[in-house]
C-alpha cells in the first residue's frame, strides 16, 4: 500500500520524534510513503483565527496536489488532519466558499478536485493493516506497561471518522496489541489548551495540570499521545504543573511505543528527544528494547 505523506510544520520541529517513529513503524510494516511534493502549511487553528476562508484555500492547495497523486493522504498531525477535512467539507457545503476556493485553484493552475481521502495513521494501522498483522510484528512486547491514551480534540471533534467521538479506542487497541495495559482515563478527549500556555499561562497550566493529574490518578506509567502540540504541552510543562504531587511520567507518541514494540532501535524511534528518560520505566517493567 502506498500513501502520500503530509508531515505538517510541527513534525519538523518540536514533533520530530513523531515523524521519526512514524516513518520507522511504516517501514517495518512495509507501507510505502511518499512525501507530498512542495506542501504548504495547512493553516491549522491559528490561521483560521486570522482568516477562515484563506485557510481553506491553503488546505485546498495541498488537497489538490494530493488528489493528483492518486493515493490516500496521510496526515499524522491532528490539527492538519482536521484542517484538511474541514476544507473539504466546507467547500462542499458552502457554495460561496467553493466559488472562492475554485477560483483560487484555477488561478494557480491546480485542478479543482480536492476529493483525496485524508487518513490518520491510527485509521491506517487499525483498518488497512489490522491488529493481527500488528501483533505479528511485535518482537519486544510492552509487558503490561500502564498507559493512559490521550487523544485530544481534533481527531475526534467535530468529525469522528474512524473512532467513537466520546470514547475513542483506536489507540487503545493498537497499544494493547503490543502488550500494553490501558488504564481508564475519562479526560482522554479533553482539550490540552492548545497554545494557551504560551499566551495565557495560567489557563494553559490549569488544563495541563488537570490532564496529568487524571492520568496519574488512573495509574498511568506513561501517556501516549497523538498530537504534537498535546505532547509538547504535557511534557514541556509537566514539572511546572506539578504542585503537591510531582509528575514525572514520560509522554510519548503512540508511534514511538509501536516502534519500541517492533524492535526499532531507540534512536530511530526518536526516544532521545524526550525530556524524561523512559529507561527507568522500561527497566521496571522488564521491557526489552533494541
Amino acid at each position: 500500500m502506498k500513501y502520500t505523506y503530509y508531515p505538517g510544520c510541527s513534525l519538523r520541529g518540536t514533533g520530530r520524534a513523531y515523524e521519526e517513529s512514524l516513518l520507522a513503524v511504516f517501514r517495518e510494516l512495509g507501507l510505502e510513503l511518499e512525501e507530498l511534493d512542495d506542501w504548504n502549511c495547512c493553516g491549522a487553528t491559528t490561521y483560521m483565527s486570522y482568516d477562515e476562508v484563506q485557510s481553506y484555500a491553503l488546505a485546498a492547495r495541498n488537497l489538490s496536489l494530493a488528489t493528483k497523486t492518486g493515493n490516500d493522504l496521510m496526515a499524522p498531525c491532528a490539527a492538519c488532519y482536521l484542517a484538511l477535512h474541514k476544507a473539504q467539507y466546507y467547500v462542499r457545503d458552502y457554495p460561496w466558499i467553493r466559488q472562492i476556493v475554485d477560483h483560487a485553484l484555477d488561478t494557480i493552475g491546480l485542478p479543482r478536485d480536492i476529493s483525496v481521502k485524508v487518513r490518520h495513521p491510527l485509521d491506517i494501522l487499525l483498518n488497512d493493516v489490522g491488529l493481527d498483522a500488528i501483533k505479528t510484528k511485535v518482537t519486544h512486547p510492552l509487558n503490561g506497561l500502564k498507559l493512559a491514551t490521550y487523544y485530544g480534540c481534533q481527531i475526534v471533534r467535530p468529525y469522528a471518522l474512524f473512532d467513537d467521538q466520546r470514547n475513542p479506542t483506536s489507540m487503545d487497541r493498537l497499544l494493547e496489541a503490543c502488550g500494553a495495559k490501558i488504564v481508564p482515563y475519562p479526560l482522554k478527549t479533553q482539550c490540552c489548551g492548545g497554545s494557551q500556555k504560551g499566551t495565557l499561562p495560567e489557563v494553559g497550566l490549569d488544563r495541563i495540570g488537570r490532564l496529568l493529574a487524571g492520568a496519574v490518578r488512573g495509574g498511568a506509567e506513561m501517556i501516549a499521545t497523538v498530537c504534537p502540540l498535546c505532547q509538547f504541552n504535557l511534557e514541556a510543562f509537566e514539572e511546572e504543573a506539578s504542585n503537591a504531587h510531582q509528575f514525572r511520567i514520560p509522554i510519548l507518541y503512540f508511534t514511538q511505543l509501536l516502534a519500541l514494540a517492533f524492535g526499532v532501535p531507540l534512536k530511530e524511534a526518536g526516544i532521545q528527544r524526550s525530556f524524561i528518560s523512559i529507561k527507568p520505566v522500561l527497566a521496571e517493567k522488564e521491557i526489552a528494547y533494541a
Binding site: R166, N167, P186, R210, G214
Partner: protein, 667 residues
C-alpha cells in the same frame, strides 16, 4: 358526440353559477358566465345565484330538474371538498343519480388566485365549457354498502388500551385486547404517584385493570402479539400469537406457591418490572397487582428447560390444580373484528446514548423510570430511596431533557418530563429531605393544574438551575466534590458555569416510539411520521383516525403525551370504533377502478403497484381483480395497465378526453 346513455336520452344540462357573495362575483363576471353557458351545447338552463349551497339555492336546482327534465347538472362554485356532498344530495332529492353532477371550482382556482377580472372570467368560461362537455358522459353510479363486524381489536394494554376497551365493552360490543407483556397496565403501572394531583398510580389504575380482567365483553390476550392482519374496514381477519407461559391460564389462581417452592431460593435474574434493580426467579408473577393474576416461567432461566433434570418442586406445590405445563406450545388463533385501535404506547430514551451523563458507567446515575420504582412502595427498595451501594442520597440532581429537544438524539419535546421531574423532586424532598436540584431549559407545565403544581414546588425549597447539563462526572477539582457526582452546567440566568456535587443523578429521559413501531404500522397498513410516531389523519381535526379506514390510534403511540390526554384519545378512538359499528354499514365512494375482464391479458403489472394492496390475481381465470372495497381510486393501476383494461368510475377515458377537448376549444 353527445352520449345517449341514461335511457337513450340526450343530455339535458343545467348550469348554475354561484356568486358566493363577493368571493366569486367580485372577480368573475358571473352574469356573463351564466349567459355564456346558455349557448353551450346541450345546456337547457343556466342560472346565477348568490349562494348556491343555501337551501333556496339547492331548491333552485331541484325545481329546474323537475320542471325542465334535466338529467345532468354543472355547478360552478367553490371547491368540491366544500360542497360536493351538498349538491349530490340535491340531485338525489330531485330524483336523479347523484353522480350525474360535475363541479367547477371557480373560487379557489379562479377568483381567489387571480386579480384581472377579464382574464378570470375567460378562465371560468373555459372551465365551465370543459365541465359541460364532460358531464354528458357521466354514468349513474351507486355507493356500495359493506357490513361492519361490531367487534373491536385493541392492541396494547396500557392505560389508553384499557380505557378504550372498557368504553367499547360497556356499550355491549365485544373487545379483543391484545397485550405483549404478561400483564396489562403499561407504563402507568410502574409509577408511584401521578401529577399534578399526586394520586397513587396503582390505586387509580388497578380498578380499571381488574374491570378489564373480569368484563364479560372483553377477551384478554396477554403475553400475545398480533401476527398478521388481513381484510378491510368492517371486515378484518387477525391472527393472534399467544406465547407460552408454560402455565395453563384457566387453572392458575395466582397463589404463587410455585414461586415460593422453586428450587432457586433467591431471585437471580433481572426483574423486568423493577428495571433490573431487583432479581426474580425463573417462575414469577410480573408484579403484585398483575392482571391476569397468573405466573409465568422464563424458559431462558428455568433449569427444567435447560437440562430436563429439575426436581420440579413447583409442580409439587401446585398440587391438585396441576396448572404447570412444561410442554405448552405457542398458539396462533384467528379472530374477526370490524375495527382496530392501536394503543401500543412508547418507550423511554436509552440514556446510554448520552455518554456524558454517565448512565451505565457511574453507578448512582438513574433514569426517571428507575427512580419511580425506587419510590414505589411495592418496588425493589420498598419505597425507600436507596442507591445501589445501600446509602441514601443527601443531594439529588434531576436533569431535564435527556434525549429530547436535541438534534443529536431526538428533536421533539417529550411533553411530560418537566412535570414528572417536578413530581420526583417533590417525592424525594418529602421522603428523605435531600437537597434537590432541577436542571431545566424551559419549564413546560401547560395542563390543567400544572402551573399550580410548579408553584407548589417553588415553595418546597427545590433549587432550580436553568441550564442544559454538559456532563456528570466523578472527577473532583475541589475538595467539596470528593466522593460525589458533579453536575456541570451553565446557570444561564446567573451567567456563569456551576459545578454542583450530588450523590444521586436522575435523568429525565424522553419518550420515543416503540422499537418495532415501523413493523407494527406496516402490519396494520398505516403510516408513521418521520420520527416514527403513528400518523394521524389530521393533526387538529382527526387525531385518532388514520388514513386507513377502520384503524384508529390512541395514546402515546401517536405522540408523547400524559395520562389525561391518552385517556381522552382512547375515549375518542373508542367512539370512532363504536360509530363505525353502530352505523352497521360503511358506504364506499364509487370512484373505484375495475378490470375489464375481456381485455385483461393477465400480465400482473398492476398487482404490485397498488398502494392499498387492493388488486389480486385470480388463478382460475388468469385475470386481475380489484377489491372495490379496498380501492381508494388513486388511478395508478388505470394508468399503468399496458393494455388499458382497467377503468375507473368517474374518471373514464372518454370523460377525461371530453374535458380536455372542452378546455382546448377556445370559444
Amino acid at each position: 358526440m353527445p352520449d345517449l346513455r341514461n335511457g337513450n336520452q340526450p343530455p339535458r344540462i343545467g348550469v348554475y353559477v354561484c356568486h358566493c357573495g363577493t368571493n366569486i362575483a367580485g372577480t368573475v363576471d358571473v352574469a356573463a358566465l351564466a349567459d355564456y353557458a346558455t349557448h353551450l351545447p346541450n345546456v337547457v338552463v343556466s342560472r346565477e345565484y348568490k349562494y348556491m349551497c343555501s337551501d333556496p339555492g339547492q331548491e333552485l336546482i331541484r325545481q329546474d330538474i323537475r320542471k325542465n327534465s334535466l338529467n345532468r347538472i354543472v355547478v360552478a362554485s367553490c371547491s368540491p371538498l366544500m360542497h360536493e356532498p351538498t349538491f349530490r344530495g340535491a340531485l338525489a332529492k330531485a330524483g336523479i343519480n347523484a353522480f350525474l353532477l360535475q363541479m367547477v371550482n371557480i373560487r379557489e382556482h379562479v377568483s381567489w388566485v387571480h386579480t384581472n377580472k377579464v382574464e378570470a372570467t375567460r378562465k371560468a368560461k373555459d372551465l365551465v365549457r370543459a365541465a359541460v362537455r364532460r358531464v354528458g358522459f357521466h354514468k349513474p353510479l351507486e355507493k356500495r354498502k359493506v357490513a361492519i363486524n361490531p367487534n373491536v381489536l385493541i392492541v396494547g394494554g396500557g392505560i389508553a388500551g384499557i380505557h378504550a376497551a372498557l368504553t367499547v365493552a360497556n356499550s355491549g360490543k365485544h373487545v379483543h385486547l391484545v397485550e405483549r407483556q404478561p400483564t396489562i397496565g403499561g407504563h402507568m403501572a410502574y409509577f408511584d404517584k401521578t401529577f399534578p394531583t399526586l394520586d397513587c398510580a396503582a390505586c387509580i389504575l388497578t380498578p380499571k385493570m381488574t374491570a378489564v380482567g373480569s368484563h364479560p365483553n372483553i377477551t384478554l390476550w396477554t403475553y400475545s402479539e398480533v401476527a398478521s392482519v388481513e381484510g378491510y374496514v368492517g371486515n378484518y381477519k387477525v391472527k393472534v400469537r399467544h406465547k407460552p407461559r408454560y402455565i395453563i391460564e384457566d387453572l392458575c389462581i395466582g397463589c404463587q406457591e410455585c414461586v415460593e417452592a422453586c428450587v432457586y431460593k433467591e431471585g437471580r435474574w433481572a426483574d423486568e418490572f423493577n428495571l433490573g434493580l431487583s432479581k426474580r426467579k425463573p417462575i414469577y408473577l410480573p408484579f403484585p397487582q398483575a392482571v391476569p393474576q397468573k405466573v409465568l416461567i422464563d424458559p431462558e432461566a428455568c433449569i427444567e428447560f435447560k437440562s430436563h433434570k429439575c426436581k420440579k418442586t413447583c409442580i409439587e406445590a401446585c398440587g391438585e390444580r396441576n396448572a404447570i405445563d412444561f410442554h405448552q406450545k405457542e398458539t396462533i388463533e384467528e379472530i374477526e373484528v370490524g375495527s382496530i385501535i392501536l394503543a401500543t404506547g412508547f418507550k423511554t430514551f436509552d440514556a446510554r446514548r448520552n455518554a456524558y451523563y454517565g448512565y451505565g458507567v457511574l453507578p448512582n446515575v438513574y433514569t426517571s423510570l428507575e427512580v419511580e420504582r425506587l419510590v414505589n412502595a411495592s418496588g425493589p427498595t420498598a419505597g425507600e430511596i436507596v442507591m445501589r451501594d445501600g446509602s441514601k442520597p443527601k443531594a439529588v440532581g434531576i436533569i431535564h431533557c435527556v434525549g429530547s429537544r436535541d438534534h443529536n438524539t431526538n428533536r421533539w419535546c417529550s411533553k411530560v418530563c418537566c412535570m414528572y421531574s417536578l413530581k420526583l423532586a417533590h417525592l424525594i424532598r418529602e421522603r428523605i429531605g435531600a437537597e434537590v436540584y432541577n436542571f431545566y431549559i424551559d419549564m413546560r407545565t401547560p395542563g390543567k393544574g400544572y402551573e399550580e403544581f410548579y408553584d407548589r414546588l417553588l415553595d418546597e425549597g427545590v433549587h432550580f438551575v436553568r441550564g442544559r447539563v454538559a456532563e456528570v462526572t466523578d472527577w473532583p477539582i475541589h475538595p467539596s466534590e470528593n466522593g460525589k457526582l458533579i453536575i456541570r452546567a451553565e446557570d444561564t440566568l446567573a451567567g456563569f458555569v456551576r459545578r454542583i456535587p450530588v450523590d444521586m443523578v436522575v435523568l429525565s429521559v424522553g419518550l420515543e416510539p416503540q422499537a418495532n413501531a415501523r413493523d407494527v404500522r406496516r402490519m396494520f397498513n398505516i403510516s408513521c411520521s418521520e420520527e416514527g410516531w403513528f400518523l394521524e389523519r389530521h393533526p387538529k381535526l382527526a387525531p385518532v383516525s388514520t388514513f386507513t379506514d377502520g384503524v384508529f390510534i390512541a395514546g402515546a403511540c401517536q405522540g408523547p403525551k400524559d395520562i389525561p390526554d391518552s385517556v381522552a384519545q382512547a375515549g375518542a378512538a373508542a367512539a370512532e370504533a363504536m360509530a363505525l359499528a353502530d352505523a352497521k354499514y360503511v358506504e364506499l365512494e364509487p370512484y373505484t377502478a375495475h378490470v375489464l375482464e375481456d381485455a385483461c391479458s393477465g400480465c400482473k403489472t398492476c398487482l404490485n403497484i397498488c398502494p392499498y394492496t387492493a388488486i389480486s390475481f385470480i388463478e382460475e381465470t388468469k385475470k386481475a381483480q380489484v377489491n372495490e372495497v379496498l380501492c381508494k381510486g388513486c388511478g395508478t393501476c388505470v394508468a399503468t395497465c399496458p393494455s388499458g383494461s382497467i377503468e375507473q368510475n368517474l374518471f373514464e377515458d372518454q370523460e377525461i378526453f371530453e374535458e380536455v377537448e372542452g378546455l382546448l376549444a377556445y370559444a
